[in-house]
């Protein structure tokens, strides 16, 4: 297959998935996997798992990261561009249109009531997400997990420390712990 055809396929696949997928990055990733591993057979199953791991552990939106790794794997830097362009275009267009009308809409009294009610719903959604994520972590029964949770809550909520510093501090701690435990593993 010619390179331009591969790039076009990458672009169309990420565009299509990004435009019609609700429910966050993990859903898009499993659909990308279905497309490129099962249907097109361009990527091996096992390699795909590693690509997903890269997408999850890098900063940024998982859907965009997933598109980038797959684009890079299949078409190099041009593949990355094609994939990112496809992934970003649908939300860019949809949200631009919505936000152009948002302020006019907000002034309609019934829309404002609707949004007021929905705010409570969003709050509930976030509480439920935090509960789900938190309870999986708490089940691990690791003291360091509790300490990190508590300290970052205090730092963020009470002292209002910039979230970037909190992330950098915890990441730094992770580097030290990992390097230390790998050394110890090698010695014993």
């Amino acid at each position: 297959m010619k390179k331009s055809q591969i790039l076009w396929k990458i672009f169309v696949a990420t565009l299509y998935l990004s435009a019609f997928t609700f429910g966050g990055g993990y859903v898009i990733i499993s659909l990308l996997k279905d497309k490129f591993v099962n249907q097109l057979k361009w990527i091996e199953e096992e390699e795909m798992l590693d690509l997903v791991a890269i997408a999850q552990s890098s900063p940024g939106a998982i859907a965009v990261n997933g598109a980038i790794v797959i684009g890079y794997k299949l078409g190099g830097l041009l593949g990355t561009l094609a994939a990112v362009f496809g992934a970003v275009l649908p939300p860019l267009i949809i949200i631009s249109l919505i936000s152009m009308f948002y302020e006019a809409f907000r002034d309609i009294v019934w829309i404002r009531h609707l949004l007021t009610g929905m705010q409570a719903g969003v709050g509930a959604l976030i509480v439920s997400v935090v509960y789900d994520m938190g309870s999986t972590l708490i089940k691990e029964k690791k003291i360091s997990t509790y300490v990190i949770m508590l300290l970052s809550f205090i730092a963020n909520f009470i002292f209002q420390i910039n979230v970037i510093y909190i992330i950098l501090a915890v990441a730094f701690y992770g580097v030290i712990v990992t390097v230390y435990s790998e050394r110890k593993g090698r010695l014993s």
Binding site: D50, S57, P59, Q119, A120, G121, V122, G123, I167, G174
Partner: protein
């Protein structure tokens, strides 16, 4: 200049949000509401509502939403570019190293520690959203006379529906909105 500010703000959001989905929320809140006051907490909650109902990652939706309102279409493009640039560089770099060394364990190990911090910070952003939803803003801070009791009720109903049924979260949110519309309609008749 607003375009530079938008670009730099969303560059930081793109570079430091881990954990996907809601992981970006505390950073977006910090930049967009706290630091630059581009949105009120209320508009921020509306933004999350809109992001929930449309396809696409929250960070990209936020970049487009804030970018459009602050600097039109160009603002949206600049903010979105800022948001995805770190991903493009970092992910491509790691993918390149991966094809060379095929070792991801160390990195995943390091990132495991971030998860509890991210959960806590999402919780903090959630609390701020709930505060805006439950209390009518006033200069005297939080007061009992300013509680929106109906919002508390919708919150409890939504939480029960989310936890006890497999109902789509988008439908639950719309349901909460419609309850308020109905109650206001009844009030307007009386």
């Amino acid at each position: 200049m607003i375009y530079v500010e938008l670009f730099l703000s969303f560059l930081q959001i793109g570079a430091f949000s881990f954990g996907g989905g809601y992981g970006a929320m505390p950073l977006i809140y910090d930049q967009v509401v706290n630091r630059h006051a581009w949105l009120s907490t209320e508009s921020f909650t509306d933004l999350i509502t809109i992001a929930e109902m449309t396809p696409g990652p929250i960070a990209i939706n936020a970049a487009t939403f804030v970018g459009t309102s602050m600097g039109g279409l160009l603002g949206a493009i600049v903010a979105t570019l800022g948001c995805i640039l770190p991903s493009c560089i970092i992910v491509t770099l790691i993918a390149h190293l991966y094809t060379k060394y095929r070792n991801l364990k160390t990195m995943q190990q390091i990132l495991k520690n971030l998860r509890p911090a991210v959960v806590s910070m999402i919780g903090v952003a959630g609390l701020l959203i709930l505060k805006a939803a439950f209390f009518i803003e006033s200069e005297n801070g939080i007061q009992f006379s300013n509680i929106r009791y109906r919002s508390l009720l919708y919150f409890v109903v939504a939480l029960v529906l989310l936890k006890k049924t497999k109902m789509n979260p988008i439908l639950i949110m719309i349901f909460c909105g419609l309850m308020e519309v109905c109650i206001q309609f009844i009030f307007s008749l009386i």
